[in-house]
């Protein structure tokens, strides 16, 4: 029986039992963890996968002839198959393991973009990008002479699609946009972006850091050229991520880093590259975390992405309603399509003060610019307070946050 057929009825109490960290207290209060867009907590299945790797089959992969190396290799490669199926990639060779979304984007920047862009070309990003989907393109722009253009964001935190279509022309060679915004929650119309970009001959990279955990990802249906995933935002370990790329593009790209694993033959005169996906996986990879990523994806699929999404949507709706009752609050990010992120500012109150006082109530939220400074400038604010919800959160926890907010605001004003 495959993992996906094991759906159980969604029961948040049941789900919470899988996450040991939710039993702890912060400042003498039960932890309310609402910083899931930064990183999700790990189910015991993932923690067990990590420890069992180190306890039973830790070995360096691919080259070893002994049993441990074979077992470790099998487990590592099994994660590749799971990821392939998870995002519906055509082939397992299209799944490259990286350290995370940042490295995935940099890999494409330093290989595909550096060799394919020239002066006069344009790279199109959006006004709601994380710094990791801005800075690599600025660096490549400096190297190649390609220009960075930005799709503007409207007052609701949605991309201005008319402007996007205006900006699109045959000079645009690459469009790199965030699938779902980490600061606002906005789900972008990526299918429309991809189809339009392909018509002018541009390729499209999607930053899936936030979307992978919430939405069904089908890279074939999306037809994106590159897709970046972060494991630790999908209930998996830190330090591991994925770059999906269409095979033809990956084949044509030069290697990113040189070293072991990624070579076929090495001589001092000439080195030939290993085949995909190993060409892009130089050195001993992060084996343990990759192995445990499979446990995370299996877990998500067992609970059921659709059920998780329905639960998170309910939480977002409830939180949005409750937040709006607070005097002087302004929601930042009111797009029609959102993942479970509630970002807001409170008149006359600094987000950092709110964050400290909420922490004092055991509530973990994120405050600040969320590594999206240009977006914060767009809204004329230095930062927001952001609550982001995951499968294990509850309405009761939202009540705790709202009470904490009211108490904090009273104190701070």
């Amino acid at each position: 029986m495959s993992a996906t057929t094991l759906h159980i009825a969604f029961d948040v109490d049941q789900v919470r039992r899988h996450f040991p960290i939710l039993n702890r207290e912060v400042k003498g209060k039960p932890l309310v963890y609402f910083d899931n867009a930064a990183t999700t907590q790990k189910p015991v299945e993932v923690i067990d996968a990590l420890t069992s790797y180190y306890q039973y089959f830790n070995a360096n992969i691919h080259r070893g002839i002994h049993s441990l190396a074979e077992e470790a290799t099998a487990a590592y490669e099994a994660t590749r198959d799971t990821v392939q199926q998870f995002i519906n990639a055509r082939q397992r060779e299209e799944i490259i393991f990286t350290r995370g979304v940042t490295e995935s984007i940099n890999l494409v920047a330093y290989t595909w973009a550096r060799t394919n862009l020239k002066a006069g070309d344009e790279i199109l990003i959006s006004g709601m990008e994380h710094h990791s989907n801005i800075v690599p393109w600025q660096l490549i722009g400096e190297m190649t002479g390609a220009k960075l253009k930005v799709i503007p964001v409207d007052d609701n935190g949605e991309l201005m699609m008319d402007e996007f279509h205006n900006l699109l022309n045959e000079k645009v060679k690459l469009v790199s946009v965030v699938h779902a915004s980490n600061s606002l929650g906005t789900i972008n119309p990526v299918k429309e972006i991809i189809d339009a970009a392909h018509k002018v001959g541009a390729i499209v990279m999607l930053d899936g850091a936030q979307s992978t955990v919430h939405l069904d990802i089908d890279v074939q249906e999306l037809d994106c050229d590159f897709f970046a995933i972060s494991s630790h935002k999908v209930y998996g370990p830190t330090g591991i991520g994925v770059l999906y790329g269409k095979r033809a593009l990956l084949e044509a790209m030069p290697p990113f880093m040189g070293g072991g694993e990624m070579i076929k033959d090495v001589s001092f005169e000439k080195t030939t590259w290993n085949e995909l996906p190993y060409k892009f996986e130089a050195g001993t990879p992060n084996i343990a975390d990759t192995v445990a990523l499979k446990a995370a994806i299996d877990f998500v699929q067992r609970i059921g992405k659709k059920q998780i999404r329905l639960h998170e949507e309910e939480l977002l709706q409830y939180a949005t309603e409750e937040l709006q009752n607070i005097d002087g609050i302004r929601l930042i990010g009111t797009a029609k399509q959102k993942v479970s992120v509630a970002s807001f500012v409170v008149e006359g109150v600094h987000p950092q003060d709110l964050g400290i006082l909420l922490d004092n109530q055991g509530v973990a939220v994120r405050t600040g610019h969320h590594c999206t400074q240009p977006l914060m400038n767009r809204f004329g604010i230095p930062g927001t307070t952001r609550a982001s919800f995951a499968m294990y959160n509850t309405k009761d926890e939202i009540d705790v946050m709202i009470a904490g907010l009211q108490k904090a605001i009273k104190l701070l004003r």
Binding site: K27, H350, Q352, D353, G355, G368, H369, P382, L412
Partner: protein, 150 residues
């Protein structure tokens, strides 16, 4: 004139009266609100100590061999902590400031605000206060000491 260590001890005693974190923060927020605001002319980039989330502006001057600090922040809790640092360090000789242990912050349970989380400018502020003191000390030791803002 109390020593830095004595003032630190006073603050620790003040905080020992509080039973809960709520009371501690209430007190710090109150001090933040009471901190005399810095004139706008001082809120310029060269006086800025930037954290990832909040900003501190600080100016100092040397008067009769002692360093005086004034500062402000856009976040109230940081402002309260800043006000405590000023209460502890301002009006002392550079040498005493440079050698100040400042472990009262740990003793009152506010060490997390000095952690390297980039979340605020407090740690940078402590460094800047000591750096200013070091500059004044060097000026005082030089043959032509010129007093004024660092």
């Amino acid at each position: 004139m109390k020593s830095i260590a004595q003032i630190e001890e006073e603050i620790v005693e003040d905080f020992s009266l509080f039973d809960t974190w709520d009371e501690k923060y209430e007190y710090i927020i109150d001090m933040g609100k009471k901190l005399k605001p810095l004139e706008d002319e001082h809120k310029k980039d060269e006086n800025k100590i930037k954290g990832c989330q909040s900003t501190v502006w600080m100016v100092s001057e040397l008067k009769d061999g002692k360093v005086y600090y004034r500062a402000e922040s856009d976040a109230v809790i940081v402002k309260g902590l800043v006000s405590m640092l000023i209460r502890v360090l301002s009006g002392h000789e550079p040498k005493e400031i440079i050698n100040a242990k400042l472990d009262f912050i740990d003793k009152i349970g506010m060490k997390q605000h000095l952690a390297q989380t980039r979340s605020n400018g407090l740690l940078s502020m402590v460094k800047q206060m000591k750096l200013d003191a070091t500059v004044y000390l060097a000026k005082m030791a030089s043959p032509n000491p010129s007093e004024g803002g660092a």
